[in-house]
């Protein structure tokens, strides 16, 4: 078990290389290309949601098809507190996360349901939040949406309102959340959660309050997705219900997390970068409408042939051809 505990905090060379590449190489190599940068930012946002989805699936053992609710609520809360109350943007980001946590607390009753019932209940919740955002128009602006959402400010002379600024914020948040995820997984709670994955009843017998732990994971996951929703809102400066609560905010992260391997920490993020880039550059060019079809096919293929992600599949192939 000690190896697993250290794995969360271990700083290996690949990780350092990736961080250096993320902060130093990518900005200088691609920083001038606005199109590529905007795609990388979008991919990182999806990677952040994929990370939060994978945390819930891996640690909590819960499959959520309602993460668009957390994403949308985070986006709306952050946008509204800046537009209506004048809260500074950098403070509004965590507030968006808190909003998503509140949304997850409303969902707590569904923790009484097991497995497939939970997945469907949370899907149903996502519908509710979209309807609320549309119908509660005195607060949310209704289907017309919220426009003029302030962008990121200039700090120490660096304008975070640019594509580069959004990229650095998104990258930092992904890394911070990945680190937090690793810490949770390595903690004693993480061990209890993984034991629950094998047998929830047995874990209860040895004195773990499984419901509280699952609820905590739901809240952590909601917070992460909400912060990324908020980030995205300040990055594109406009929100409408059909966009903020779009099913795409579930589909893309799920495909990304499964593609990269949802039981790993780096997998969902890497998966998001690969899947989103491929979707935008290749699939969208080939078929302008319905290119999500390819995402569905990818998801089905992954589950059938390599449910634990692409990495084991690659290893199997290289072992066979070595």
């Amino acid at each position: 078990m000690s190896g697993a505990i250290n794995a969360g905090i271990k700083i290996n060379k690949t990780l350092v290389a990736l961080i250096v590449a993320g902060y130093a190489v990518v900005p200088f190599a691609l920083g001038a290309n606005n199109y590529i940068m905007s795609m990388i930012v979008a991919a990182l946002v999806i990677g952040g949601v994929a990370l939060s989805w994978a945390l819930l699936g891996n640690l909590g053992g819960m499959v959520s098809f309602g993460h668009s609710a957390f994403f949308g609520v985070g986006a709306y809360v952050s946008a509204l507190v800046t537009v209506k109350l004048g809260v500074p943007v950098l403070l509004a980001l965590p507030l968006g996360g808190v909003g998503a946590v509140l949304a997850s607390i409303v969902m707590m009753p569904v923790l009484r349901l097991r497995g497939p019932y939970f997945a469907l209940a949370i899907l149903a919740y996502a519908h509710i939040f979209r309807i609320l955002a549309t119908e509660w128009s005195s607060v949310t602006g209704g289907s017309g949406g919220v426009s003029g959402i302030p962008g990121f400010p200039t700090v120490f002379g660096f304008d975070f309102g640019t594509k580069m600024g959004a990229y650095l914020i998104a990258l930092t948040l992904v890394l911070v959340f990945a680190f937090a995820y690793a810490r949770i997984r390595a903690s004693y709670y993480g061990i209890a959660l993984r034991a629950m994955h094998d047998s929830e009843d047995a874990t209860r017998v040895v004195g773990v309050n499984s419901t509280v732990l699952k609820a905590a994971m739901l809240m952590v996951s909601a917070f992460m997705a909400g912060v990324f929703g908020a980030l995205n809102a300040h990055y594109i400066n406009f929100l409408e219900p059909d966009y903020a609560f779009n099913a795409l905010w579930v589909t893309l992260p799920v495909v990304a997390a499964i593609f990269g391997g949802y039981r790993t920490i780096s997998g969902p993020v890497i998966g998001a970068l690969v899947v989103y880039m491929a979707d935008q550059l290749v699939f969208k060019a080939l078929m302008p409408t319905g290119h999500q079809l390819v995402l569905g096919v990818l998801l089905v293929m992954m589950i059938v042939f390599s449910p634990s992600g692409l990495m084991p599949l690659l290893k199997k192939w290289t072992a066979r051809h070595a």
Binding site: G57, G61, V63, F65, P109, V110, L111, R112, L113, R114, G115, P116, Y117, A119, L120, A121, L123, A124, Y125, H127, I128, I131, T134, E135, E200, A247, T251, V254, V255, I258, M287, T289, G290, H291, Q292, L293, L295, G296, V297, L298, L299, V300, I303, V304, P307
Partner: protein, 294 residues
């Protein structure tokens, strides 16, 4: 006002027929395979679009287009359901989680196929015969609503007979209650699961054609249908056809009342409120035995 409410109750009752067919399909497959088919709503929607294609292809504006479409919808949806079965049955590890993600992916595929073939526009039937007013006492409905309510009730009767009396129906019940014991009794669980998928497909085909005959359809509707079917199974609890019909009618009535008394935009909230109420107050459903709680 009373008239409006009575009318809403009547419309909700008629709507409940197709809802019950959708929910029964979801419940049958869950019974045998312990898999929630998240693409079930999309299968229903596929049938609805087949009905649209047949109607617009035949050019029978005033005729029975959607009715003629039923055999074709049956074939198409059953082929789709069988394909779903063969993909789902390939899952060996972590079946519960993986089957959910898998059928979610199949749902995405079907939604986008429908989008590619029939585009994003909202569609409804052109058949004046089906849309003609049909008045029963003080109640008003479209002819199609009444026809398909009758069809739904007949199908549920047939399903009840099939489950209670036929060999495969008994096999489905046996596999649902204890898979290993059923296998020891000489029942092939794999084939029984396939049969349950096909029956779910048949029910979905009729429900889909019904939805097109009296309502509007669009490619994104499938997910909402799956959610509705799920809400009904929660309302009904596990295991009885009359329970599902009652749950479906309850959902239909709640939706119709919300549309009449509040606004059509809040229609989906009605179902959710019912769902949450039942979840809090009677977690085993209105008519079900204790089984689902964690």
């Amino acid at each position: 006002m009373t008239e409006l409410i009575l009318q809403a109750l009547y419309s909700g009752l008629l709507q409940g027929g197709s809802y019950a067919l959708i929910a029964l399909g979801l419940a049958l497959v869950f019974g045998t395979m312990k898999v929630i088919n998240l693409a079930h709503g999309e299968l229903v929607l596929l049938a609805a679009y087949v009905a649209y294609a047949v109607e617009s292809g035949l050019g029978l504006g005033s005729g029975f287009g959607p009715i003629f479409a039923i055999p074709i919808a049956l074939v198409v949806v059953c082929i789709a359901a069988v394909s779903v079965y063969f993909v789902v049955s390939r899952i060996k590890i972590d079946r519960e989680i993986n089957s959910l993600i898998l059928t979610y992916g199949i749902g995405v595929i079907l939604t986008n196929l429908i989008l590619l073939v029939w585009h994003a526009d909202v569609r409804s039937t052109n058949s004046t015969w089906l849309q003609e007013a049909f008045v029963v006492g003080p109640f008003y409905s479209m002819r199609s609503e009444l026809i398909f309510f009758g069809v739904s009730v007949a199908l549920m009767g047939a399903l009840w007979w099939w489950l209670a009396r036929s060999w495969y129906g008994r096999a489905v019940r046996a596999v649902s209650s204890n898979r290993d014991a059923a296998e020891l009794m000489g029942i092939d669980p794999g084939r029984t699961e396939l049969v349950s998928f096909i029956v779910a497909g048949v029910l979905a085909a009729f429900a889909g054609v019904a939805l097109f005959s009296y309502g509007v359809i669009q490619p994104a509707y499938g997910g909402a249908l799956t959610v509705k079917a799920f809400i009904i199974t929660v309302l009904a609890g596990v295991g009885s056809i009359p329970g599902v019909l009652l749950g479906a009618v309850l959902l239909g009535v709640a939706e119709a009342l919300t549309v009449t008394l509040a606004s059509s935009a809040l229609q989906e909230l009605a179902g959710m409120t019912l769902f949450l109420l039942v979840l809090f107050v009677m977690p085993n459903g209105l008519f079900g035995a204790a089984r689902r709680r964690g």
